[in-house]
C-alpha cells in the first residue's frame, strides 16, 4: 500500500529507509523517524479504536503523550504490550499492532450497539442499577461489566526482557529538551555544574521539531544540532533521549523512564536492557515541560479526523504527513492558524477557518487570508458528520458568549478538522512537587505559582509561549539553578534574531452548544474522549449534588483514563466553572499524581527479581548440605537445611531417623545462622542485666547463661544464650530471624537511653560458623577432634565454654543444649565452617553421626518443652505465660518489660499459658494452628481456649506431642481439651510441656 497522505517533501523522516509494519493484520510501509501514528496517517488510516462506553469510532487526536484515543496492542506473544499510544511508538521494522477492546474488529465492532443505550449509560448509572435481584450482581451484571471493561491484554507468559535501575546525583536536572530546556542545560552546563537533560522524544528540540523557525540566522534543525553538539561535548552533562520524567518526589528526587530498545526491531533488542529507571537526586531542577493543546468541546467532536491543530502541524512538519487533504480549522486563538498555513504549504487544502472570536486580526490571520483561506470569524462548529471518518462539519454564527446562534447552519465538507482551544502548560511535575498553581486569565491557563522545592520553571510551562521568551527564560532558569548550587554561570550570550509570528490573543471558549441544548438529542460533546465523558455528564453530576471538582472527576470518570486527562482536565474544570457560575480559580484543580505517563511494572521492579528480590544468605557449609540432599527452609533471608532425606524416605521417616540418632547416638546441626553479637565494654554486664529478664552481674567468665528479652510491654521478643568471654566482654546469641532486630534494639538503648553505659555491640554472626554436635556420643566425637581439650564434666560443665583447637582449627566450644542431649556447639572462623563440618563427619563416622535439620531440631526441643520465639510466642506472650517465671528476676529493681507485668491484663491469672498436649490417640498429630476449646459442642462463635503452637510425631516417645497456649493452662493439667478440626474433633489431655527427661539427666550424655 502506498503512502497517499505523505507530503512530497519535508519532515524529519528518512525517506530512503522504508519500514514495513502491520496494523490490524494489514501491511503498511512507513519511514524511519515515523511514529506508528504518523505512519498510519500517511497511509490514510484514521480509525484506530473504539471508545470505552459507547464504542464509537475513534482516531488519532494528538501527536504525543497527551493522546487520549489511539491505544494499541503492540507486538505479539511474550513481548506484547497493551494500551500503548500510537503517537508514542517509534516505528520499527516488523512492528505489529492492533486495536484494543474491539470485537470482532475495529471496523465492525459489535459493542457499538451500546450507543443505542447511551441515554441510559450516563455518569453514575452503575450506582443506580444492577441491584435487583441481589444474586444477579455477581452472576450476571458484574461478569458482563468486567468482560466489557479493560483495553488491551497482558501477555500470558513471563517477560523475556530485562530492566534496570540507575542512580544519579546532579547539581541541575533539566526536564524537557525543547528550546527552553536546551537553553537551561546550556547555561548550567557552561557553568561546569553536573547537568542532566531529559526528554521524552527520540530527539531534542521539543516544539521546534514541529515548527519552522529561523534562530540567529540558522534554521531550527541546525540550531538544535548545534545546541546538542555543544552539550554533548561537555563531560559533566548527561543527555537522555526517549526518557520520560514520570515522578517528582520529595527533596528533589525524580524518576525517569528511559526506553532503550523499544524503538528497535526485535532482532536488535536481544541481550540489551529494555528500559531503565533513573533515580535522580538533583540540587536544582529546571522544569521546561512545555504545554499541551486543548481540544474544543463541540457536538460530536470525537470522530476520527478531528485532531488538535498542533498535532496537524507536527504531522505535517515533523513527519511529512498530511492528516487530511481538506481541512477545517476550528480555533479560539491565532497560534493555531499556523497549522492551516503549514498544511496548505505542504499541499493540503484548508477549506475554512472557523474562529469563534468575533474580531480576528494579526500576522497569522493575514497570512491565512493571503493564502485565500476563508475565515469565518464569530462562528463555531455545531455538529459533525461522518462514520469512521469526519466528512463534514456544520457551522453557525454565534453571539458573543457563545450561548445563542445567529445564523442558519452551513455544512462544509472536509476530511480533517483541526481544533485548538488554547494551551495548557504541562504543570504535572510541578504540581507533583507540591508547587501551587495559579490561573492566568489573559493566557487562559494554569501556571506554576509558588514552588515547594528548589526548582526553576521555564518555557511554555512558565507561560513563555513565544520562542524568544522560551530561549531567554530557559537560559535564565539554567543560570539561576547553577548559581543556586554554587556554580558561576558564564556571561549571558546575546539574544539571537528570531523570526516568529505574533501569537495574538486567546478567547476562552469552553463548550460549544450543538443544535440542541447539551444533553438533548443524539449529539455528544465529549470532554474526556477516553472515558466517554460528555459535557452533559458533568451537568448531570452537578445536578445530582456533586460540586467539588474531585467529585465530578470521580462521578464522571473524567481524567481517570490512561492519558490521565491531559487534554480533558482543564476543559472539565472550565465547564464546571461555567455551570456553577464560579470563576475557574475558585473551582481549583485536581491533584496531578505520578506517573506522568504509564511505566511498566518490569521497569519499576528492575533487577530486583528472583534471588535478587531479597538477598539469599547461606552458611559456609551450604554447599555440603546441597550436595548431601538437604531440603531447605527459608528462615528470614537464610537458607537452612530443613531435613536430609535419604533415597526413598518420606519426610517423617527422615525425621524419625534424625531424631533417634540424636537421642541414641550423635547428630550434627549447622547452627551458623544463629545471631551472634559481641558485646564489649566495662558496663557490658550491667547492660545485659537491664536487657534480659534474669540476673547477669555475677555470671563468671567462661560461663554461659540463657536469657529472655522482652519489649517494654512485657512481651517476649527474643531469646538465646550468652557467654561471658571476659569481665568486660560477652558473646550473645539470638534467634536466626531476630538477629538484626536485637542488634538494633541493643544499640537503640545504648545510644538513646543509657548513654552513660560504656558498651559496644558488634554483629559477628558471619564471623563464626557453628557446628552443633548432640547426643550421647557427642563427647566421643569431640574427643577425637580435640584431643588436647579437657572435656570432662568437671572441667567443662554444662553452661560453660572453652577456647582451643578443634580439628586443627582455632575454636570456641560451648556446652549448651537445645535438644536435651549432651551437646557441644563448636564455633570456628566462618570460612573454616565446611572444613570443621567435614572433620566432624569423618570423626563421627564410626558413631554413624547423622546430619539433621531445623525440623528435627524443632521436634527434639519440643520433646524437652523448649520454646521457639515466634512459634510459642506471637508478640502477646509474657515469660510467665510460658511458665518461665524462673528466668524473671524478682530481685532486680528494673529491666526492660518488668513494669508491664503488673498491668491488669498482663497480670491476669487466666492468660493463655504454655502447656503440653497429649492426644488421646497417640497417632493423632494435631495440626499446628489448631484452635482449642473446652466445649466442642458450643455453637459458633465457639469460645476458644487457645491454640496449638507446635505439634510433631515424636519417634523418641513413639507418639504425637504438642505444645499449646491455653487459657489458664498452668492450672488445667490433666484436663481434657478439644481441637475441632474440619470434619473431626481431636481430644487431648493437658500435660506438662516437658515430655522427655524431665530431670535433665541426659545433658551429661
Amino acid at each position: 500500500m502506498t503512502q497517499h497522505f505523505r507530503a512530497t517533501s519535508g519532515g524529519r523522516i528518512n525517506r530512503r529507509k522504508a519500514i514495513n509494519f502491520t496494523f490490524n493484520g494489514q501491511s503498511y510501509i512507513g519511514y524511519e523517524g515515523d511514529t506508528l501514528a504518523s505512519a498510519l496517517l500517511a497511509n490514510g488510516v484514521h480509525l484506530l479504536g473504539r471508545s470505552f462506553k459507547y464504542h464509537r469510532p475513534r482516531g488519532i487526536v494528538a501527536a504525543g503523550a497527551e493522546e487520549p484515543n489511539s491505544m494499541v496492542q503492540l507486538g505479539e506473544g511474550a513481548t506484547t504490550e497493551p494500551n500503548i499510544r500510537a503517537t508514542q511508538i517509534s516505528l520499527y521494522e516488523g512492528l505489529t499492532a492492533s486495536s484494543v477492546n474491539v470485537w470482532p474488529n475495529v471496523e465492525f465492532d459489535i459493542s457499538a450497539i451500546n450507543g443505542l443505550f447511551a441515554k441510559i449509560m450516563t455518569a453514575g448509572f452503575y450506582n443506580k442499577t444492577f441491584m435487583w435481584p441481589r444474586s444477579l450482581w455477581m452472576k450476571l451484571y458484574e461478569p458482563v461489566i468486567r468482560r466489557a471493561a479493560g483495553w488491551g491484554r497482558a501477555p500470558t507468559t513471563s517477560d523475556p526482557d530485562i530492566y534496570d535501575h540507575m542512580h544519579l546525583h546532579v547539581e541541575v536536572m533539566v526536564v524537557g529538551g525543547g528550546p527552553a530546556g536546551l537553553m537551561a542545560a546550556l547555561a548550567a552546563g557552561r557553568s561546569c555544574a553536573r547537568v542532566l537533560l531529559v526528554d521524552e522524544q527520540s530527539e531534542f528540540g521539543g516544539s521546534l521539531l514541529s515548527t519552522k523557525r529561523q534562530i540567529g540566522g540558522k534554521d531550527e534543525t541546525a540550531w538544535i544540532a548545534d545546541m546538542v553538539a555543544e552539550l554533548e561535548a561537555m563531560p559533566d552533562v548527561t543527555l537522555l533521549r526517549r526518557s520520560t520524567t514520570f515522578g517528582y518526589y520529595d527533596h528533589n528526587y525524580l524518576c525517569v523512564l528511559e526506553q532503550k530498545t523499544d524503538h528497535l526491531p526485535a532482532a536488535e533488542r536481544k541481550g540489551k536492557v529494555r528500559q531503565r529507571v533513573w533515580h535522580v537526586r538533583a540540587g536544582q531542577v529546571v522544569l521546561a515541560t512545555g504545554a499541551h493543546e486543548r481540544p474544543l468541546v463541540f457536538a460530536d467532536n470525537d470522530r476520527p479526523g478531528i485532531m488538535l491543530a498542533g498535532a496537524v502541524q507536527t504531522y505535517v512538519n515533523r513527519y511529512g504527513v498530511l492528516p487530511g487533504k481538506k481541512m477545517v480549522l476550528f480555533t479560539n486563538n491565532d497560534a493555531a492558524y499556523e497549522a492551516a498555513i503549514d498544511l496548505q504549504a505542504a499541499g493540503g487544502d484548508v477549506v475554512a477557518i472557523i474562529d469563534c472570536r468575533h474580531e480576528v486580526s494579526g500576522e497569522l490571520v493575514d497570512a491565512a487570508r493571503a493564502l485565500d483561506i476563508e475565515i469565518l470569524a464569530g462562528y463555531a462548529i455545531t455538529g459533525t458528520s461522518g462514520g469512521k471518518r469526519v466528512e463534514s462539519v456544520e457551522v453557525r454564527k454565534i453571539q458573543k458568549g457563545a450561548k445563542v446562534y445567529t445564523s442558519a447552519a452551513r455544512s462544509i465538507d472536509c476530511d480533517l478538522v483541526a481544533m485548538s482551544g488554547g494551551w495548557s502548560p504541562v504543570v504535572h511535575l510541578f504540581s507533583q512537587s507540591q508547587g501551587q498553581l495559579h490561573y492566568d486569565e489573559a493566557k487562559a491557563c494554569f501556571l506554576p505559582g509558588t514552588p515547594r522545592q528548589v526548582q526553576q520553571v521555564a518555557g511554555a510551562l512558565a507561560g513563555q509561549f513565544s520562542l524568544k521568551d522560551c530561549l531567554a527564560g530557559g537560559y535564565k532558569a539554567g543560570a539561576d539553578a547553577a548559581r543556586a548550587t554554587g556554580f558561576t554561570p558564564k556571561r549571558k550570550p546575546a539574544a539571537p534574531e528570531i523570526d516568529e509570528p505574533d501569537a495574538g490573543e486567546i478567547e476562552p471558549f469552553w463548550v460549544v452548544p450543538g443544535s440542541r441544548p447539551i444533553g438533548e438529542g443524539m449529539a455528544k460533546h465529549f470532554v474526556d474522549l477516553q472515558n466517554d465523558t460528555t459535557a452533559a455528564d458533568i451537568e448531570l453530576a452537578v445536578r445530582e449534588g456533586f460540586e467539588s471538582v474531585e467529585h465530578i472527576k470521580r462521578y464522571t470518570l473524567t481524567g481517570f483514563g490512561t492519558d490521565q486527562g491531559k487534554t480533558s482536565n482543564i476543559n472539565a474544570l472550565a465547564i464546571l466553572s461555567g455551570i456553577l457560575e464560579k470563576p475557574i480559580p475558585k473551582i481549583g484543580t485536581t491533584t496531578f499524581r505520578p506517573p506522568y505517563t504509564p511505566v511498566s511494572y518490569g521497569a519499576l521492579a528492575g533487577r530486583n527479581l528472583g534471588d535478587w528480590s531479597d538477598p539469599v544468605r547461606v552458611t559456609s557449609i551450604h554447599d555440603w548440605h546441597v550436595n548431601n540432599g538437604a531440603l531447605f527452609e527459608n528462615v528470614g533471608q537464610w537458607k537452612r537445611p530443613w531435613y536430609f532425606p535419604k533415597a526413598g524416605e518420606t519426610m517423617q521417616e527422615a525425621l524419625n531417623r534424625e531424631c533417634l540418632a540424636v537421642r541414641n547416638g550423635v547428630g550434627v546441626l549447622d547452627a551458623s545462622t544463629l545471631g551472634k553479637i559481641d558485646i564489649r565494654g566495662p558496663d557490658a554486664a550491667e547492660f545485659l542485666n537491664r536487657i534480659y529478664t534474669n540476673a547477669w552481674l555475677k555470671l563468671g567468665v567462661g560461663r554461659v547463661r540463657y536469657g529472655l528479652m522482652c519489649h517494654e510491654d512485657g512481651m517476649v521478643f527474643d531469646d538465646g544464650t550468652t557467654a561471658r568471654l571476659a569481665d568486660d566482654r560477652f558473646l550473645m546469641t539470638t534467634t536466626t530471624g531476630g538477629a538484626a532486630g536485637v542488634l538494633d534494639w541493643l544499640e537503640e538503648y545504648l545510644q538513646t537511653e543509657w548513654t552513660d553505659l560504656k558498651v559496644y555491640c558488634t554483629s559477628v554472626t558471619e564471623q563464626w560458623a557453628t557446628v552443633s554436635i548432640a547426643g550421647p556420643k557427642a563427647g566421643a566425637v569431640l574427643k577425637k577432634l580435640a584431643p588436647e581439650m579437657d572435656i570432662s564434666h568437671e572441667n567443662f560443665p554444662f553452661l560453660s565454654f572453652k577456647e582451643g583447637t578443634v580439628a586443627g582449627l582455632k575454636a570456641r566450644v560451648f556446652r549448651i543444649s537445645f535438644t536435651g542431649e549432651l551437646t557441644y556447639e563448636i564455633n570456628v572462623p566462618w570460612t573454616c565452617g565446611q572444613a570443621l563440618w567435614e572433620a566432624v563427619m569423618a570423626a563421627g563416622a564410626e558413631f554413624d553421626i547423622t546430619p539433621y535439620g531445623t525440623e528435627s531440631m524443632h521436634i527434639l526441643r519440643a520433646e524437652k518443652g523448649f520454646i521457639i520465639v515466634g512459634q510459642e510466642t506471637d508478640g502477646t506472650t509474657t515469660p510467665q505465660d510460658l511458665g518461665m517465671d524462673w528466668i524473671v528476676s524478682k530481685v532486680k529493681p528494673d529491666f526492660i518489660g518488668k513494669r508491664s507485668f503488673t498491668r491488669t491484663d498482663t497480670a491476669r491469672k487466666d492468660r493463655k499459658q504454655l502447656v503440653g498436649l497429649l492426644t488421646d490417640k497417640p497417632d493423632d498429630v494435631l495440626p499446628e494452628g489448631a484452635q482449642l476449646v473446652f466445649d466442642p459442642h458450643a455453637p459458633k462463635p465457639m469460645p476458644m481456649a487457645g491454640h496449638v503452637t507446635s505439634s510433631y510425631y515424636s519417634a523418641t516417645l513413639g507418639r504425637s506431642i504438642a505444645l499449646a497456649l491455653v487459657k489458664g493452662g498452668h492450672d488445667r493439667k490433666r484436663q481434657k481439651i478439644f481441637a475441632p478440626l474440619e470434619g473431626k474433633t481431636v481430644t487431648a489431655e493437658i500435660v506438662d510441656p516437658v515430655f522427655y527427661d524431665k530431670e535433665g539427666e541426659r545433658l551429661n550424655g
Binding site: A149, G150, Y253, L609, T906, H947
Partner: protein, 416 residues
Amino acid sequence: MVKYSIFTIARNALTGHKNWPKQWRSPEPKATYDVIIIGGGGHGLATAYYLAKEHGVRNIAVLEKGWLGGGNTARNTTIVRSNYLWDESAAIYEKSLQLWEGLSQDINYNVMLSQRGVLNLAHSLGDVREGVRRVNANRLNGVDAEWLDAEGVKDFCPIINISKSARHPVLGATLQRRGGVARHDSVAWGYARAADALGVDIIQNCEVTGIKREGGKVTGVETTRGDIAAKKIGVVAAGHSSVIAEMAGIRLPVTSHPLQALVSEPIKPVIDCVVMSGAVHVYVSQSDKGELVMGAGIDSFNSYAQRGSFHVIEHQLGACLELFPIFSRVRMMRTWGGIVDTCPDASPILSGTSVEGLYFNCGWGTGGFKATPGSGWCFAHTLANDAPHPLNTPFSLARFESGALIDEHGAAGVAH
C-alpha cells in the same frame, strides 16, 4: 429519596436526565445538633446513617473539612474481608461483612460489592502455621475460611507463580470466599445519600478548629463556618484524629503514616480474586474497569502528606512480579497516598474519652475500608447509648493501660 433502579433511569432518560434530584443537600449548618460527627468519610457517614436509621437520632451534622469521601475512603484498595485472627476483630469485621452483603439494597445505591474471594499467601513455614491458625480461629468464629495448599492456590488463581524455586515460594494460602472488593466512592456517596434522606446535614468545606468544653463535657465545635453546638461529638477523622484530639486536650496512641496504592492501566480481565501477601508486601485485585489495583506496606515515617516515598512502590512491584510474572509489561497508571492512623496493636479505637460526650473512632490503620459499615454501626450504637456495643467494647482506649491489646499485626496483611 427517589428510588434508584433501571426503571428510574429509563424514565429520566426520556427527559434528558434533567430531573434527577440532588443525591444530598448542601445545607447551611444549624446552630445546634444532638450529635456532630467530625469527618465525612465512609465511617463518619455510616455512623450518621445508622444513628438516624437504627437509633432514631435525626438532628445530626456531619462536618467534612473538604469534600465528602475525599480521605481514605477515596484512597484505599477497596478490599473487603473479615478473616481476622482474634475473636474481638473477627466479630466486628464479620459484622461489617454481613452489613456489606446487604448494603446496596439497604441504602439503594450499588456499592458494587464483589465477593470474588481473598487469598492471603503464606511464604514460609511460619506463615503456614499462622495461616492455619487463622483459618481454624475463623472457622470456629463463624467466619468462612479455608486453607489451600500451593496447588489449591494455583487452581483458584491460575496466573500466580507457585514455583518452588521462587525466592519466597508460595506454600499455601488462606481463602475467604466471601471476601472481595467494593466500589469505594460509591460507599461514601451511598451512605451520604441515605443519611441525607433521613435528615442528616452533611456540611462540606467545614473544618473543625476547636472542641468546646465546659466542666469536662463537650458543648460544641468551632469551625471555619462558625461555632456549632452539640451534646455529643463523634470524631471519625482517620489520619487527623490526633489533631482533633489535641483540640480536646486528649492524647491518643495513634500515629499517622502515608499508605500508598496504585493502579495499572485497564486491561482485560486476568485476575478474578484478591491476592494479598503480607510477607512480601503486596496486594492485588482487578477492578471492574480492568485496572490492577495494588497496595503495599506503609511508609515508616509520620506524615500528614498524602504521598509516600517511591522506593516503597518499586519494592511492591518487585514483589508483585515475583507472584505474577505476566504483569511485567503491564504499566502503572496512577499512584496515590492516604494518611492512615495506626495503633500500636494494629487494631482500632472505638471509644469514649475522658471528656464526656466526646467519642473517637480511629486507628483503623490499613483495615478501614472493609470495616466501614461495621464501624459506623458500632459507633452509632456507642454514641446513641453513651456506652459501647459488645462488639466494640474491647476496642477501648482503656486497653492501652490494662495491656489487653488486640495484636493484629499478622492479620493486617501489611507490615507496620
